[in-house]
Symmetry: C2
Subunit: 197 residues, 2 copies
Amino acid sequence: MNRGTARARKPAAERRRQIIEVTTRLIAERGFWGLSMQDVADGCGLTVPGLLHHVGSKDRLLLAVLDHRDAEDARALVAELGPFEWPYPLPPGVDLRRLCAALVRRNAAQPEIVRLFAVLEAESLAPGHPAHAYFVTRQERALAAFTTVAGGSGDRPSSLARQVMALMDGLQIQWLRDPEGTDLVAEWEIAAEALFR
Amino acid sequence: MNRGTARARKPAAERRRQIIEVTTRLIAERGFWGLSMQDVADGCGLTVPGLLHHVGSKDRLLLAVLDHRDAEDARALVAELGPFEWPYPLPPGVDLRRLCAALVRRNAAQPEIVRLFAVLEAESLAPGHPAHAYFVTRQERALAAFTTVAGGSGDRPSSLARQVMALMDGLQIQWLRDPEGTDLVAEWEIAAEALFR
DNA sequence: GTCTATAGGACGATAGAC
DNA sequence: GTCTATCGTCCTATAGAC
């Protein structure tokens, strides 16, 4: 049906939001290398050239998705912790343990987003990946920010920062693989008890 | 050169070893969705049909790579800890902390293999991935085995098992992204100090 | 055990009409 | 803002000769 007739014409901003939402879901499922522009277009009720008109190229679409995630995370965290810059550094008064608890609670409510990052984090280890630079920078900034906030907690703040990041990522993978059998928030609390002791 | 002339004819077993080695490297770089049979064939000095003669299909090639890894890991761990079954359960006398130290030391010496697993672990979260079942089983077994070995260490052995697995995976990702700036073995030792305290 | 030839698609991207 | 048409390339897999 509708073959040969014009499809719904949407304002660019709204269409863009839709494209990013659909792409987010598909990358979480298949990663960037497994993503096809055809699938994105289908999911939006567009043809591929119609899609490319909005995003330029497949690489730029990926970066648009990541930019949008950063903006969303900034919104959520500022609402929770008060105004500060994002992504990173964190405001100096923040308590690391409470910050992490907030992050884990938020992540537990949006498995799709967590999976998006889990898949891209691994895929982008290859230097040729279009999000390689993004994730290198992201890790540098996260490590620096968490290290600063961990400053008072012991004699190796950067190691504590690394442990916090590693545990969150690792527990999330376990949870994504077995959501029914894994209580992400509870396991984090138990782990935090050991880390911050 | 050599266009149209017969290529080197190898015994099947040797050719298979070569194919698995080349594939391991390529999957570590691009994941399974990003892997092309053409690249594997080129890396082996074969045509694509020549390659398919040995491995049957792309899916079966992936599973062959994983089987080969399990066999190699079994060899190495038995050499280090004495004879036991693999993959899992572990022999009951093993000390969890010493086992982990051995695993981390071994992993630190073979970043390519660690990356292979990091990439596939994330990619295979999707139910349609050809290694999905493999990694579900792997996580179940690892959790069960580590829980058993952690039995005497506290009142929540399964949580300690999860923390150990999560920390190893998470630290490895950080290390792969910044090998120069991250001392995997040292960071693990510091983390283990906190976990096993 | 390896090849050539080919089937039969899917891919990302561009040109140009409307 | 969306389309049709098309380019050139890549993909996995099969058939059959040697």
